[in-house]
Amino acid sequence: MGYKVIIRENWCKGCYICLSVCPKNVFEKAGLLDDRGIIVSKAVRPENCIGCQMCADHCPDLAITVEKEDE
């Protein structure tokens, strides 16, 4: 059983608060600018997620949802 870390990419503004609050280092900056000129956050290590919701609760753009993976 794991967690799904969903980022609504078009809502993300690249503030990287999620990177800093995640205890499991799940996120990284995406390499590329999107068409708004933003380098969004990516959940690159979702398998490490412990579902603590720190990222989801601290995202100022309501861009993150962390859900329990359905088995």
């Binding site: 690249g14 503030c15 990287y16 990177l19 601290h58 995202c59 100022p60």
Partner: protein, 244 residues
């Protein structure tokens, strides 16, 4: 924010107009999540705000009745709503400039009368929207557009101010305390009392930029490092958080 809570926001206005990392968004997030966790009846909730970035937290983002009023006057409008229809839950969410600088009189009178509304101050210690002038909560020494050499005047301690005016159910949290904030929001949403929140949101662009807190993550870290949970003893040199 949970997927099911999307119904509490107007997703057509997202992404928000806030700057990247704006702490007002964390307040919004916590409030939406509080509603979600309570499965709160959004059609019985009226959110009132003034002018400023803080005034945009509810309007247009929240999917309830919203009343985006004039600068500093959210509380009187909210009182009109509440007294005219006491069944409604009325919550004011606005900025520090709005609620405590130009609007301070309405705040202290609402506290004095203990009008059963909730007032949430998205306190970023500055006038964000107008380009970063000092507000009544700007710390001594902080640099702003109008205090380029550092602010001379003492800021309000909003907890003391509201309590001094006679208010009860007074809380303070920072953007770092997203979860505690959410829990406290849930508490007051279920009551019909006066309550007040001083929520330190942080404005990375207008405040942070001038005061070495330009990075949102650094701002959150700073909040974490400088705050202390209140448990009877109040330290003026720390950011005391909790219920007062």
């Amino acid at each position: 924010m949970k997927q099911e809570y999307l119904k509490y926001i107007r997703d057509n206005v997202f992404p928000t107009a806030f700057c990247p990392g704006c702490g007002h968004g964390i307040l919004l997030n916590a409030f939406v999540s509080a509603l979600g966790e309570l499965d709160y009846d959004q059609d019985n909730l009226v959110l009132v705000s003034g002018i400023g970035c803080g005034g945009w937290i509810a309007s247009p983002h929240m999917n309830t009745d919203t009343l985006h009023t004039t600068h500093g006057r959210a509380i009187p409008f909210a009182i009109g709503v509440k007294l005219a229809n006491p069944k409604l839950k009325v919550v004011v969410i606005s900025g520090d400039g709005d609620l405590t600088t130009i609007g301070g009189n309405h705040l202290i009178h609402a506290a004095r009368r203990r009008i059963p509304i909730t007032v949430i101050c998205g306190n970023n210690n500055i006038y964000g929207m107008t380009g970063g002038q000092a507000s009544a909560t700007t710390p001594v020494g902080a640099k702003t557009m109008t205090t380029p050499l550092g602010n001379d005047y003492r800021p309000f301690d909003l907890v003391k101010l509201v309590k001094g005016a006679g208010g009860e159910h007074v809380y303070r949290y920072t953007a770092f305390h997203a979860m505690q904030m959410k829990k406290a929001f849930k508490d007051v949403l279920q009551k019909d009392d006066f309550s007040f929140f001083d929520i330190l949101t942080g404005c990375p662009v207008q405040y942070g930029r001038r005061n070495e807190l330009r990075e949102p993550a650094k701002m959150i870290q700073w909040m974490k490092d400088n705050s202390v949970l209140y448990s009877g003893e109040y330290h003026d040199d720390k950011i005391m958080v909790g219920k007062f």
